[in-house]
Symmetry: C2
Subunit: 437 residues, 2 copies
């Protein structure tokens, strides 16, 4: 088998066999197929697409290119959650403790943030003492004991995907739905779960700006799950404004605590409950959505989720007093209000813009090895559909340095006002499950 | 400027500026743009194509990536000839002496053969003593003195094209008309001529199997010539059967001599006269085709072309007695007849198939560094439209080893017979000049 022939086959719009895709992935990982051939192949995929069989074969070849995490020692169905990345998206920190508090094991590896989107691991790192790296034994033992562990992703999962993604990143071939879907699913499958709940973001703050593209990606990922026999559900959700009211690591950790404490009712709360409910169904814990929702609401009301978060923090070496007193989390020394220059209803908040503001404040990474500031970020005082008066505070900037009036007024340019109350967009555009693919 | 952005621009179907294309070619040649980015860009070009302005910019950037040969010291317009490669295509060896015998300077660099097609330089190398490599001074002096020199291509012409072609060859991006056209024209322009006659082959033995594709390539190359102000004419010619009656280096040299000697009237003769006539017009030597044809026919009849070939061989150190006695050229020790197994009219000869047979006999190169056997090849006794009786000889194989009956009968499979006389296909499908593009 030669890479050359497989490039031609894809270039000419033909379907590669499972064996051909396996060959390509193995040889590329081993270095016997060169970057330039793989780059040409990826560009051919960009134009010609891939069938579900091809995408599933690519996913599995990449998933098995390194270690596949074995969660077999943990009883019960392990359901993993993945978000394609949003701004202010702290759902994992709410969902994971709630689900674990129902007795469902949550053995989750999460990524670090990059660019305008944050990462769960950075948010957890804001808890003094919290260990985001556990040994495999510690990780499994903790899940067996308290049903939950959240750790950083190890470097050996799906190395083929890592190598291929780095190549796609410099050859303008990231933007291909089959390649995005297989990249995500290969890492998830290598992490060892039995099923997946996928939160596919769409809108100005998301990677997928357009709803149809997001639905297409969601369908392909659910189809991959179906083809490898792992229950998978995807929610296509609104990222046309930041989720919740906080952007930044310590700030989002704080927000997750207040939600689990029953103190905040917002879009972030609502989405977290939906995702948690879907996980209960996927895990086979409840037969339908109504029961799932009832159980999750109950765990929120009786603060079982909050208790589970506390247990996890303690078990991973963190200062669990932050749960009762979030002010123990890192605090930025400066706070600057972003003032509305005119009155009106908020029609749109540029989440991508605010994500970049947070990144520039130090909350996110411009490059993979950027050092981040856990305390800084943005606190939104108004969201879409809210009315503001001239001079009212739209948001508060938490920063490490004093900001000028010009800097804070620049942040205000991310808000678009309108004289009439806008129609509210749905939080979830579509739910995709096995029957839909 | 970043290669990444230029890949996206082309991927998304936009037109690159001259400066962008220059950047890409210079940076790629200098090694600051990597193979994998260039491979992705080439695949994007494969799918999105290029405008004439882009192709001309690419051509000129590659032409100027190394030395551009200076033929300014030779008086008169220098017209170069290029064939896209055929089987039995010995036109250069007939055309160049004929044109030079009219007083038009022919300063020509030719390539070696590769795959199923031969190269002029290999054919000349079959003349004992003939030097295919001259110093620049020797080359120019010879053209000034006797109006003709045929030498091998130097390695420093259009190095960007050489590097890019090698990459395209392993990334399945050879088959892109804009990239083919710019590759050919960049080398031709770097070789320093003032104008070009292009012989674009089409049919089973050609790189361009389909006539419309060949016409498209011809039009683009003529348009490049127009955009860089160099008179260019292309003939789209039939390669659905080998040209002439010989395939192989010494054999084709021999055939060129017999044509210049007025002894052979065949499609090769006819095409050579057409190409030579076009060169006379392009050089501004005659105002129209009728006069050009008259002068070329005259030079064939009075054997001035043959005399010119002899002068050139002598000047380049070759044994010029071969002109009077072609049997002095290398002869293969074995000859095996290919016998017709049935009677009928020859409907089609698979030129690609016969080209590969010749290559396997040793006449051509499977790889760039294959050693070739100058003596071996095929001698066609019958061509398309000829009638053969069962048992009659279709061709004679000239080989270095004795062949089995099975081997010679295998060669016969390249002939397709029909009971009724087939319509003859034209030799020239189309002529493209400045007015057509």
């Amino acid at each position: 088998m030669r890479a050359y022939d497989l490039i031609i086959k894809k270039r000419d719009g033909n379907q590669l066999t499972k064996a051909e895709i396996q060959f390509l992935v193995h040889a590329y990982t081993a270095g016997t197929v060169q970057d330039y051939q793989m780059a040409a192949w990826c560009m051919a995929v960009y134009f010609q697409g891939m069938t579900i069989d091809e995408i599933a074969a690519l996913t599995m070849a990449m998933a098995h290119s390194g270690d596949v995490f074995d969660l077999g020692g943990i009883q019960g169905k392990k359901i993993d959650k993945h978000s394609t990345g949003g701004v202010g998206d702290t759902t994992t920190l709410v969902v994971a403790p709630l689900v674990a508090s129902c007795g469902i094991p949550v053995a989750k590896m999460s990524g670090k943030g990059l660019g305008h989107t944050g990462g769960t691991i950075d948010k957890l790192a804001s808890i003094p003492g919290f260990r985001t790296e556990l040994t495999q034994t510690e990780f499994l033992d903790q899940v067996r004991t308290i049903q939950i562990a959240l750790v950083g992703q190890t470097g050996t999962l799906a190395p083929a995907d890592k190598k291929l993604y780095a190549l796609r990143d410099v050859t303008a071939t990231v933007d291909s739905i089959p390649l995005i879907a297989s990249s995500i699913m290969s890492k998830k499958i290598a992490a060892g779960a039995d099923g997946f709940i996928l939160d596919v973001k769409t809108g100005s703050g998301a990677f997928m700006k357009e709803i149809p593209k997001a639905i297409e990606l969601a369908k392909i990922m659910v189809a991959i799950g179906k083809s490898v026999d792992k229950p998978t559900v995807a929610l296509v959700t609104n990222m046309d404004q930041p989720l919740g009211t906080m952007i930044g690591n310590s700030l989002e950790m704080q927000e997750a605590i207040t939600i689990l404490n029953g103190q905040t009712q917002c879009d972030l709360t609502q989405l977290s409950l939906l995702l948690a409910a879907e996980m209960l169904i996927l895990a086979g814990h409840v037969p339908n959505f109504a029961q799932a929702e009832r159980e999750i609401s109950h765990k929120l009301k009786n603060k079982a989720g909050l208790g589970k978060l506390k247990e996890m923090i303690q078990s991973q070496g963190g200062d669990c007093r932050v749960v009762d007193d979030p002010s123990l989390l890192p605090q930025a020394p400066y706070r600057t209000a972003v003032i509305a220059a005119q009155s009106g209803y908020i029609q749109h908040i540029n989440s991508h813009g605010l994500g970049l503001v947070a990144m520039q404040l130090g909350a996110g990474r411009e490059h993979k090895d950027s050092i981040i500031d856990l305390a800084v970020g943005l606190e939104l005082k108004k969201k879409v559909s809210d009315y503001v008066q001239t001079g009212e505070t739209l948001a508060v900037i938490h920063s490490s340095k004093q900001l000028t009036a010009h800097q804070s007024s620049q942040v205000a340019t991310n808000y678009q006002l309108t004289p009439t109350k806008p129609n509210s967009a749905p939080l979830v555009y579509e739910k995709i499950s096995f029957n839909d693919v």
